[in-house]
Amino acid sequence: MISQTTFRAGLLDPSQPVPEGLSDGENRPAGRRYGVYRNNVTVSLREALADGFPSIVGLIGRDNFEHVARAYLRQSPPTSPLMMHYGATFPDFLADLEQLAHLPYLADVARIDVAMRQSYHAADSVGIEPTALQDMDETTLLNSRFTFAPSMILIRSPWPIGSIWRYTLRGGDKPTGIAEDVLILRAEFDPEPHVLGTEGADVLIALQGGHTFREALEPTGDTFDLSTLLGLLLSNNAITHVSNAPIPNQKD
């Protein structure tokens, strides 16, 4: 009897022999017929990774990507039948690969690909009307807390990952050497990466953490462009709720 443990062992490890007890229907050993399953598993997982990481395919080339993907899929086959989630740990795998150490930004660019897919499949939500903030008096606005769309994802990096991602997939201006935080927003169905300044990312993280608008803005300098950040969030339906609950024991 061939257990599924035995059958599986050779699927992701070509050094394993073809299991005994399998034939071509005419009592000859199965040989490369077993290889069809081996090939199906490897190719289907490799293609899923290539589809999921277009920017990495673009950056290191198709041949190198297939080599790296094969190593990853053997080490980390999917843990769920939802292939839309496969590869979530691929950026960490890339970060640890010595042969790619000369491309230190690669893992963070791969995180954009992961986040684009997450955002695409995230729950739907309805953004607040842009006028909702304009109609508020300043004190109320400063004491507000925001809830954001599940499709909004922020990625921070010491590398110009937004420009590298865009240049690799869409061309245009060559990336500069300036660090970029990337905010992925999905106005309706199509996620889009936007480059944020460091202060904008700090403000967003504070707001995501449940701080009031006043608290989130406190550390920012005079040059911080609040209206651009709010305009970006509002036009992409990223703010889904504003809570104006009064703060207890307010002194001013």
Binding site: M1, I2, S3, Q4, T5, F7, R8, L11, L12, G21, L22, S23, D24, G25, E26, R28, A30, G31, R32, R33, Y34, V36, Y37, N40, V41, S44, L45, A48, P77, P78, T79, S80, P81, L82, M83, M84, Y120, H121, A122, A123, D124, P150, S151, R186, F189, D190
Partner: protein, 285 residues
């Protein structure tokens, strides 16, 4: 999520196609002769976004068949309760005309291998598969269809023919069958038997749907033909002939054209559906 407002209780005896998002506009504007659509369950298990929005629109106009590829019904372990719950959720809000899965396994030790892996046809396999089908039908509250695999090899330990195995599964569980005639042709060629003989021995009364698809050609170690079920091209003439042979015995059935890799533009897929439509017309003549 709101329930689908239209519900279609059955798949029609008409041609359908495997749904691909790039055909969304074409299908809404010019579906003929396609009368129903099949989706892969796992692609619609996200939380939201375009896939679910498109599915809601399509389900208003077309009967939908939900075809699972990840339940691992033949697996040695228990069915993944999380995956079964996701399936129950999808089938619950969509209320599709049909649900089907494969006589195969794909998950082992919590690793999903993304392929339909083969089973020996033994008493042990039979009772395990029957138990799993009972669990699926009980959880979903509906009868499911089970699809015959494409085989590239045989297990020495098998004691049933595939057709006897499927007939016994139907008898024990009350499930229906999804007959893939391309898979029959692929398996028959690869294992050296006559595909018509398979159809003659197959429990056609239980068939709720027929699949058609394209395959690739390769060779084994001895130079014998080895066909690969790839769903990446047109259905070949001998498979259309096998469909005619089957329909002559079974009467009209819902026919599905599968095309999953190198997906063509809509007119090419619609032409394949037209060929399926012609086969249905012939059997009614």
């Amino acid at each position: 999520m709101p329930d689908a407002t239209h519900s279609f209780p059955h798949l029609p005896n008409a041609p359908g196609v495997g749904y691909k998002p790039q055909h969304f506009s074409d299908i809404l504007e010019n579906p003929a002769p396609v009368g129903w659509l099949e989706i892969h369950a796992e692609n619609y298990m996200g939380d939201g976004g375009r896939p679910l929005a498109q599915l809601r629109v399509l389900s208003e106009r077309f009967p939908i068949s939900v075809h699972g590829v990840g339940l691992s019904i033949g697996g040695e372990g228990r069915l993944d309760p999380d995956h079964l719950a996701r399936l129950k959720h999808l089938v619950g809000w969509l209320n599709p005309a049909s649900f089907s899965e494969h006589l195969a396994w794909s998950t082992h030790d919590s690793h999903f291998l993304n392929d339909l892996l083969p089973l020996p046809y033994t008493k042990d396999t039979l009772s395990r598969v029957a138990d799993h089908i009972d669990e699926v039908q009980e959880t979903l509250g509906r009868r499911m269809l089970l699809e015959n695999p494409s085989s590239y090899l045989a297990f020495d330990e098998s004691t049933y023919t595939e057709t006897d195995f499927l007939a016994e599964i139907v008898r024990r569980t009350g499930c229906g069958l999804l007959l893939d005639v391309n898979n029959v042709f692929v398996s028959a060629t690869n294992l050296g038997y006559a595909p018509q003989g398979y159809i003659d021995a197959y429990p056609l009364d239980a068939v709720g749907e027929i699949h058609l698809g394209g395959h690739d050609e390769d060779e084994d170690d001895h130079g014998a033909p080895l066909l690969i079920d790839s769903h990446g091209r047109e259905v070949v003439d001998p498979v259309w002939a096998l469909l005619d042979y089957t329909l002559a015995k079974s009467g009209p059935k819902p026919l599905l054209v599968e095309w999953d890799t190198d997906v063509p533009d809509w007119p090419v897929l619609a032409d394949e559906a037209r060929r399926a439509d012609a086969a249905l017309t012939r059997v009614l003549a």
